[in-house]
Amino acid sequence: MGELRAARGLSQGELASALGVSRQTINSIENGRYLPSLPLALDIARNFGETVEAIFIPDQEET
């Protein structure tokens, strides 16, 4: 997700403002410390014009 954000020239704060969450939450999602809820994941995917599964790739161990 961080690569998509950087490719669009957005800062974490700007993306957080667009999604209505805190900058810390965007940072946690990008670093894999927090798994967003389904509504937030859909919002993120919609914001980037991608699908959820294109942005959030599940770990092999968890599948």
């Binding site: 800062s11 704060g13 700007e14 957080a16 403002s17 209505g20 969450v21 805190s22 900058r23 810390q24 939450t25 946690s28 927090y34 967003p36 809820s37 937030l40």
Partner: protein, 165 residues
């Protein structure tokens, strides 16, 4: 960098501290300890001010201290609340255990000191088994059917009711 304004009511934690501290200080004042009451007021005013300032910061701790935040911060708040509740429950249980143990010891000491300080108390009062168990049984003085005879020459024994051992 875009500054994300802290959302939510930042006065929540400060208000809880101010109200709780005010109630505690009032109770202490009514209890008669005026110096401690003034100290508590000063402490809680400073704590409420710090909480107000801290709750306005753009951080996870600030979000936990105010009402609001996004889904992750609300989850952190819930987890912190659950953890603090667990800690308080364990502290209350530990305090109850310590209090029960202290009462047991205090009552046993009271019984043993009562038996040593008052040698004329009834024998059931000074029993070592009672002191060991920490149970203190008081016997009521039997009522006199008639006014006890009082003889100044006879002294203390005459003050007792007849038949009282």
């Amino acid at each position: 960098m875009t500054h994300v304004m802290a959302r939510g009511h930042r006065t929540a934690s400060a208000a809880v501290l101010a109200l709780g501290g005010g109630a505690l200080a009032t109770a202490t004042w009514v209890g008669g300890d005026h110096i401690l009451s003034i100290g508590l007021i000063a402490f809680y005013v400073i704590a409420a001010g710090l909480a107000y300032v801290w709750a306005g910061r753009d951080s996870d701790v600030g979000a936990i201290m105010r009402v609001g935040g996004d889904e992750r911060q609300r989850r952190l708040d819930r987890d912190a609340t659950a953890l603090s509740g667990l800690a308080m429950g364990l502290t209350a249980i530990a305090g109850a255990i310590v209090s029960a143990a202290r009462n047991h010891v205090t009552l046993a000491n009271t019984a043993s000191s009562a038996s040593s300080a008052a040698p004329h108390t009834p024998s059931a009062f000074s029993s070592s088994s009672v002191a060991a168990k920490g149970k203190l049984r008081l016997r009521t003085r039997p009522r006199c059917a008639s006014p006890p005879p009082y003889d100044r020459a006879a002294g203390q024994e005459a003050r007792r009711c007849p038949g009282f051992a």
